[in-house]
């Protein structure tokens, strides 16, 4: 890039081609006030505050949109500039209400700040108020456009950052304002209440609804959002040990100033009145609040008793993909060293075990192969089995930005019409459970047409011949028959994917929660390797439902793997851990989560310790799970709330929320990010890591950690994936960024395009007809998934007042023709019945569902969708099929 030298306020400074005067000035330490400029947005030069004078011509120009030119003589503070700037601020203030004293924006208002910098006190202009009614029907955002200065940041944030297209300019002249289509209320628009506009608004025009406090918060702490696996940085404003506001962390390389509705407004479950604030112990059938000593004493004597009487393997532990890495590490150590069993598993068994097995076998590492920025740079993005706008909104934003602004072509595979459909270049709607056939069909076409990346396949992979042979039967015709996708579309999709230099694959629970989940993941890996799209660019992106689904598995809360995916029957590795922990470790792989339940029902498992998980709701066949837990001798649950599972426990331990503890989460990219303590634990609650420590001590086998830091140190020492210098340093906010140029990266990613083991391995997989196909008497296929306004089984999101207010009850989405057949109208109460069970829900008739298919969210505790599922396990990973099942539909009350 060419260097350009200009004179700035009498000083010579240099920048490069393409830089604006504003950028160069800021780089040179010269402050120019701005209102409509934001580094996350394309500049528009609307507010005119940043006017500067070119002294050669005397012309004024907006520095944010003026490119630097050699020889410019810029004065940022000339009398002319100052005079215009003053006029602009006066014009704005003369149309701005005098409500600064009661405005929630307080001293973070940028208009007020610039006015005071310039020294404007009295407005000597006529007051011309902007007429506006305050919009406050929705539970999230309050719009008071009388304070709007029309910087259009909200409009641009909506269009450029989150690409929802909910708002734009409306009207002209003085009446112009940002508005939804036809100026409807936000809740009737495309708005998803992500809060990005609220965070970016320079004045008090856009604020959170229901603020508990008006004004600036004294403390603001950045931490990591506790909901999905995206791992967004959120900045929490705190007053009086209460979180009053959440804003996107600006510095984050994950979310770049954006959030979703869960991140912006879902945090309030922390202050739910239902939070447990002291340990509970079941006495004569009822819970009683007890002291920590009492609870732990009771627990340890019971567990020790069972261990002694029935052996270590009569005990089991369930960890959580919502707990930190440190907590999961401690928990598996508790299970293996203190209880002496490998019966330990975590909830990602239910969602993403297929990724670990599938990617582990093909790529050699169990997780996404690249970072989010690389995804956004792709030329073709294949999104399959993932409703990103609902399940991983930040990844959804990146995909939409790539498709809308960066020329990427989106190849969408989803039977359901998600919000991504309108961004798709090509949208395939296969029958449920036929993904393997579709992907194999694409792979076959790529090989047959010679579109594969020969060099990559030859030099970096093996087992190619077996794959070629096995794919023979997946002709377009066969694939069309199986999937329902026209053969020519399969070929088009394959060609599109293969011909892109940079292509990425994004998949989610729509792939992994099927019985054939592992097969599908392997098929996707085959596709990526065939086209040479695993490396420094492009890649496979495996979505995680929960904030630490990746980390929980990395930490070895699994029955067969030690921390860092070392097999428990690998003697050398087991010895390494045994030496470090100073005790022998159980040799045989333990029971997976579902197997634990089965064994408990059969009386072989007698005591279970559950940390942060709610199997009664999240596992299939809740009645069986309930029966299993009820038949236990002893159940101890550590949770924030008295969940459906905790209600069955003998001892319930009150856990602190994400905001009350330190630790790390590993997001879907494999980025290890630090949590920071925002408030003190409520009541007597404690962070799970401390609870686990206390449990170990009380069982007479204390673990040698006096601080969380020592746990971190040990993880770093023992888990090669986490051998990152900065991991130790709690001041580093984003460990991933620090690690970018470091060698250890190659352990997590395909460093310089090299597979961890040297070669990627093609694994031929075959299409098996799905078990969830419609059958006699159950003509419809029900899809179950997450929705934007809730998270997981809803134990947290249903306790967030604002999320619950907006999305209060379960519904079932029904296509128009299916609804017509059963005679159901919108808003009516219906029964969804499977061979296993039934649930009631409100009918929501949409045009997004194909015929024969229904959708239900899984996040409403009062409507446990999993009641409809029996236990069908992926043979490789023992993951239960929880995505789809055959059902029929009935009206809840027949017409009278």
């Amino acid at each position: 890039m060419e260097a350009i030298t200009i004179t700035l306020n009498g000083r010579e400074v240099s920048g490069h081609t393409g830089m604006t005067v504003l950028e160069l000035a800021r780089e040179s330490g010269v402050d120019i006030p701005t209102l409509c400029h934001d580094p996350c947005l394309a500049p528009i030069g609307a507010c005119r505050i940043c006017l500067v004078e070119d002294e050669r011509s005397g012309r004024l120009s907006a520095s944010c949109v003026t490119p630097i030119e050699a020889g410019m003589v810029i004065n940022t503070e000339s009398p002319k500039v100052q005079e215009r700037r003053t006029t602009i601020i006066k014009l704005m203030l003369s149309s701005h209400p005098d409500s600064c004293l009661v405005c929630d924006k307080g001293n973070t208002c940028e208009l007020r700040k610039i006015a005071s910098d310039i020294g404007i006190g009295v407005i000597d202009m006529q007051r011309i108020p902007q007429p506006a009614t305050i919009e406050e029907v929705n539970p999230f955002i309050e719009r008071d456009l009388s304070k709007c200065i029309l910087c259009a940041k909200c409009i641009r944030a909506d269009q450029e950052m989150v690409v929802e297209g909910a708002i734009d300019y409306i009207n002209r002249g003085f009446a112009s304002k940002p508005a939804t289509l036809n100026d409807m209320p936000l809740e009737n628009s495309e708005c998803t209440f992500c809060g990005t506009c609220v965070a970016i608004c320079p004045t008090g025009a856009l604020m959170e609804k229901q603020p508990v406090y008006r004004g600036t918060t004294p403390t603001n702490v950045s931490t990591i959002c506790p909901f999905c696996g995206c791992g967004c940085s959120i900045n929490l404003g705190v007053r009086d040990n209460r979180i009053v506001r959440a804003r996107p962390g600006k510095e984050s390389t994950v979310n770049h100033g954006t959030l979703c509705v869960r991140g912006s407004y879902g945090y309030d479950f922390v202050h739910s009145p239902e939070r447990l604030t002291s340990p509970l112990m079941r006495v004569n059938g009822d819970f009683e609040a007890v002291s920590w000593e009492q609870a732990l004493d009771h627990m340890s004597s019971e567990l020790n008793r069972i261990k002694k009487a029935h052996g270590s393997n009569s005990l089991a532990v369930l960890g959580s993909s919502r707990c930190t890495n440190e907590e999961n590490y401690l928990l598996q150590r508790l299970a293996r060293c203190v209880l002496g069993t490998n019966n330990i598993d975590n909830s990602s068994r239910l969602y993403s075990a297929a990724s670990i097995a599938g990617l582990g076998a093909a790529v050699g590492f169990a997780g996404s192969t690249n970072c989010l920025d690389a995804l956004e740079q792709s030329e073709v993005i294949l999104v399959i089995g993932a409703n990103l706008p609902a399940s991983a909104p930040i990844v959804g934003y990146a995909v939409k930005r790539a498709a809308r602004y960066k020329g990427a072509k989106l190849l969408l595979v989803d039977p359901q019409q998600t919000r991504l459909a309108s961004f798709a270049h090509l949208w395939l709607r296969p029958r449920i459970g036929t993904d393997v056939a579709l992907i194999n069909g694409m792979a076959r076409f790529i090989i047959n047409e010679g579109l594969l990346d020969d060099e990559f396949v030859t030099r970096k992979t093996d087992n190619f011949e077996a794959l070629t042979k096995d794919l023979k039967k997946y002709t377009p015709k066969y694939v069309e028959k199986v999937t329902g996708v026209p053969g020519e579309d399969v070929c088009r999709a394959a060609r599109l994917f293969a011909e892109a230099t940079l292509a990425s694959i994004v998949y989610g629970n729509g792939i992994t929660q099927h019985v054939t989940g592992t097969d599908s993941v392997m098929a996707l890996a085959n596709l990526a390797m065939l086209t040479g799209n695993i490396g420094i660019t492009g890649g496979i992106f495996a979505m995680q439902r929960y904030c630490n689904g990746q980390g929980a598995c990395d930490m070895g809360t699994t029955p067969d793997l030690l921390p860092g995916y070392q097999s428990v029957d690998n003697d050398a590795e087991r010895k390494r851990f045994a030496d470090r922990w100073g005790t022998d470790l159980p040799v045989n792989p333990g029971l997976t989560a579902l197997e634990v339940m089965e064994q408990a029902k059969d009386g072989n498992v007698k005591g279970i310790c559950i940390v942060g998980e709610n199997p009664v709701l999240s596992f299939p066949s809740p009645s069986l799970v309930k029966q299993a837990l009820e038949s236990l001798d002893f159940l101890v649950v550590s949770d924030m709330f008295l969940t459906e599972t905790a209600k069955l426990a003998n001892v319930v331990l009150p856990a602190a929320s994400f905001a009350e503890k330190e630790g790390t989460f590993t997001n879907f990219e494999g980025r290890v990010q630090q949590l920071h303590k925002v408030i003190e634990p409520l009541g007597d609650s404690l962070p799970d890591w401390e609870i686990i420590n206390r449990m170990a001590s009380s069982m007479g086998n204390p673990m040698p950690y006096s601080s969380l830091q020592e746990v971190m140190d040990e993880i770093q020492e023992m888990v090669s994936l986490y051998q990152i210098t900065d991991y130790r340093d709690s001041q580093t906010k984003d460990i991933h960024r620090a690690e970018l140029d470091r060698d250890p990266l190659k352990k997590r990613r395909l460093y310089k395009g090299q597979f961890p083991s040297g070669f990627g391995r093609f694994s031929p997989v075959h299409y098996e007809p799905p078990a969830e196909m419609p059958k006699d008497g159950y003509p419809l296929t029900l899809l179950v998934g997450s929705i934007l306004y809730h998270s997981g089984t809803g134990s947290r999101s249903s306790r967030s007042p604002r999320l619950r207010a907006f999305s209060p009850e379960a519904y079932v989405e029904i296509g128009e023709s299916d609804a017509g057949q059963v005679g159901i109208s919108d808003g009516e109460s219906v029964k969804v019945i499977s061979p296993i069970g039934e649930v009631n829900a409100v009918a929501k008739i949409t045009d997004t569902m194909p015929e024969g298919m229904l959708f239900m969210p899984l996040s409403f505790p009062s409507t446990p969708v999993n009641q409809l599922f029996g236990i069908t396990l992926d043979p490789r990973t023992k993951t239960p099929a929880l995505k789809a099942c055959a059902v029929k539909l009935e009206r809840a009350e027949p017409h009278g």
């Binding site: 005119r48 014009l91 112009s176």
Partner: protein, 635 residues
């Protein structure tokens, strides 16, 4: 490329054949001007009457709809071309006159000279229209065919030499065309007068593809209708110009942007595009040259700001019509981020003739810095409203008085508003200013797209400034602070002044604010919006002072500053004309029978003034209202 030549020759021969058969001298040809100006005056009714009359009398005559000749004041306009007679133009044609013309001239032999504007060709008997004084000042280049050909028949355009320039251009190197345009000195007719060739060269040198050519027909100024008239009267010259421009810059696609409020222009352009395409003058492999270019018509939704090029482009892209900052200029990054040449209707219309007659010919017309002609739409208090095309450098006086015929009703000229809401008001002292890009901007006005509104002594200059500002404020896109809030503040101040609430310091505040907005706005709309205020403050300061200091409107126009009064010595006692018309019963007779207006009741509707018979002229307006003598006797 001889093939191209042959292909075109064939097209041309066919067209000539057709037209010659039409004018074979066997039957009269009657042309009715049915552009919007004609229609507003009743041309369609006249057309119907003529057709019916011919039918009834079984006269074999051809009836053609043509565009606007520029004599909008005389619409409906009918041309009768009778074999053996010079073609005759008739103005102010009513259905009755039309009836008579058919009877007396088409069937009979009486040319009805009392209705004629003149003959359209030199002859020994009847004075020619070209003997009118205006024609000694006018020089028609792009208006040449307007009003003389059927805009819905491409063959008539071709028979007049149309598309010859395209044929010629396609056999030139693109660079030669750009050179020709540079030599001609053609500057953009959209208002700013940017040298056309510079845009072309920038667009052609921009590396990315495809390139676009856009014809900006989003004419939105109050009082301007040149582009509409050209698109309605001779759309092919614009299309031909666009294809030439596209060939010169290497563009593949084009848009003609016309506002939906011009339905007739939209229809005629659509027909023209279809016809050009069917003859291979547009689309793939134009005239066998291998050059591909096609044009779509885009209908704008009527926002004034969409005349600004970047807003227009946003509008085509389906976004709100809001300007963006420049650079990058559209020539480098325009429609969909691709190099886009965007030129005004008139600029493009000049091209065929520049290619046909050479740059030297064009450069020989007009003044040093402003070559060629200028087309103005004369409107307001001028006798001959309509279009005129004059060489650059013609003075305002010549345009308004010699071409426009001066001010009607013997009133005094006060000012001329040039360039629409972005232009300025020039006073009598500026009448001898030669009209070209540079002298107008020096005087504080601008060429604009060519609107010229003449104001007389009854027009209040403060009110005129307020009117234009109300327009720009309403049409501001609202994006940049200066324009959105600044124009609103100026408008409020002007409203206060016209309503008698002005303060002395307002004049200074207005001046300062106007300069701030001019310097600090994002696009041309904001940068020029203060011009009406700045020029009226400069040339008509006394009127502002009268409003502010004396609460007096010198032109007796500002509602709040005037009162109606009946002069007792002029009032005819037995006449009740005003009493009967007063809508609010504010007028009564006193004991002597003289009419008196109850000022409290009067709503200043002007009805009594209109009703008072001219021989008395007893009702007058007074400003300030306090001048009305206190009434002594109450009934």
């Amino acid at each position: 490329m001889p093939e191209a030549n042959a292909a075109f020759q064939q097209i041309k021969n066919d067209a000539l054949d057709h037209v010659q058969r039409f004018y074979d001298g066997s039957k009269p040809v009657i042309m009715v001007g049915t552009a919007t100006c004609g229609r507003a005056a009743g041309a369609l009714e006249v057309l119907g009457v003529i057709r019916k009359a011919l039918d009834k009398e079984h006269v074999d005559a051809a009836v053609l709809e043509v565009g606007c000749m520029g004599h909008c004041y005389a619409e409906p306009l009918v041309i009768i071309n009778k074999p053996g007679h010079p073609a005759m133009a008739y103005g102010y044609v009513t259905p009755e006159i039309a009836q008579r013309l058919v009877r007396d001239y088409v069937i009979g032999e009486d040319p009805s000279l009392e209705f004629t504007l003149g003959a359209l060709e030199e002859n020994d008997l009847i004075p020619s229209i070209y003997d009118l004084p205006r024609y000694s000042y006018e020089q028609h280049i792009i208006l040449t065919n307007c009003g003389y050909i059927d805009p819905e028949d491409i063959r008539q355009y071709i028979a007049k030499g149309g598309y010859e320039a395209l044929d010629r251009a396609l056999r030139m190197q693109p660079q030669e065309i750009v050179d020709e345009v540079r030599e001609s000195g053609l500057r953009g007719r959209g208002g700013a007068g940017f040298p056309t060739w510079q845009k072309w060269e920038a667009c052609r040198d921009a590396p990315s593809k495809p390139r676009y050519v856009i014809c900006n027909g989003d004419e939105g100024d109050p009082g301007a209708f040149m582009d509409r008239a050209i698109l309605e009267s001779d759309p092919h010259q614009v299309i031909e110009g666009m294809v030439i421009a596209a060939y010169a810059v290497g563009a593949r696609y084009g848009y003609i942007y016309v506002r939906a409020e011009y339905p007739l222009a939209v229809r005629r352009v659509q027909i023209a595009l279809r016809q050009a395409r069917s003859l291979g003058l547009l689309g793939r492999n134009i005239l066998g040259s291998g050059f591909n270019f096609d044009i779509k018509l885009f209908q704008g939704s009527g926002a004034f700001v969409c005349g600004e090029e970047t807003a227009l482009i946003a509008s085509i892209e389906g976004k709100p019509g809001i300007p963006r900052y420049r650079p990058p200029f559209p020539a480098v990054s325009g429609l969909h981020g691709k190099p886009t040449l965007i030129d005004n209707v008139k600029t493009l219309a000049y091209l065929p003739q520049i290619i046909n007659n050479g740059s030297e010919w064009f450069a020989g017309i007009g003044t040093e810095g402003s070559r060629g002609t200028a087309v103005f739409a004369l409107a307001g208090k001028v006798i001959n409203t309509g279009l005129t095309e004059v060489p650059m450098g013609t003075t305002l006086r010549q345009i308004i008085f010699d071409i426009g015929g001066g001010i009607p009703n013997g009133k005094r000229f006060k000012a001329v508003q040039i360039g629409g809401p972005s232009g300025g008001c020039l006073p009598e002292a500026a009448l001898d200013l030669p009209v070209d890009f540079d002298s107008l901007s020096e005087a504080g006005a601008m060429m604009g797209s060519g609107g010229m509104v003449v104001l007389d002594e009854d027009d209040c200059m403060v009110e005129v400034a307020r009117y234009f500002l109300e327009f720009t404020q309403r049409e501001s896109c609202g994006k940049c602070t200066m324009c959105r809030l600044g124009t609103k503040h100026m408008l409020e101040m002007l409203t206060d002044i016209t309503q008698g609430r002005g303060r002395v310091e307002d004049m200074e505040t207005l001046q300062e604010l106007a300069e701030d907005i001019k310097a600090g706005s994002l696009c041309g709309l904001g940068k020029t919006a203060p011009n009406p205020i700045l020029t009226t403050l400069k040339y008509f300061r006394d009127e502002y002072e009268a409003h502010i200091k004396e609460k007096r409107c010198p032109a007796l126009m500002c509602h709040d500053l005037i009162a109606y009064y009946i002069l007792p010595d002029k009032c005819e006692r037995s006449c009740d004309a005003c009493v009967g018309t007063c809508t609010v019963e504010a007028i009564s007779s006193n004991r002597k029978g003289i009419k008196v207006i109850d000022q409290e009741k009067c709503v200043k509707c002007n009805t009594c003034l209109d009703a008072c018979p001219p021989q008395y002229n007893a009702v007058i307006r007074l400003s300030p209202p306090e001048l009305v003598p206190a009434s002594k006797d109450k009934k």
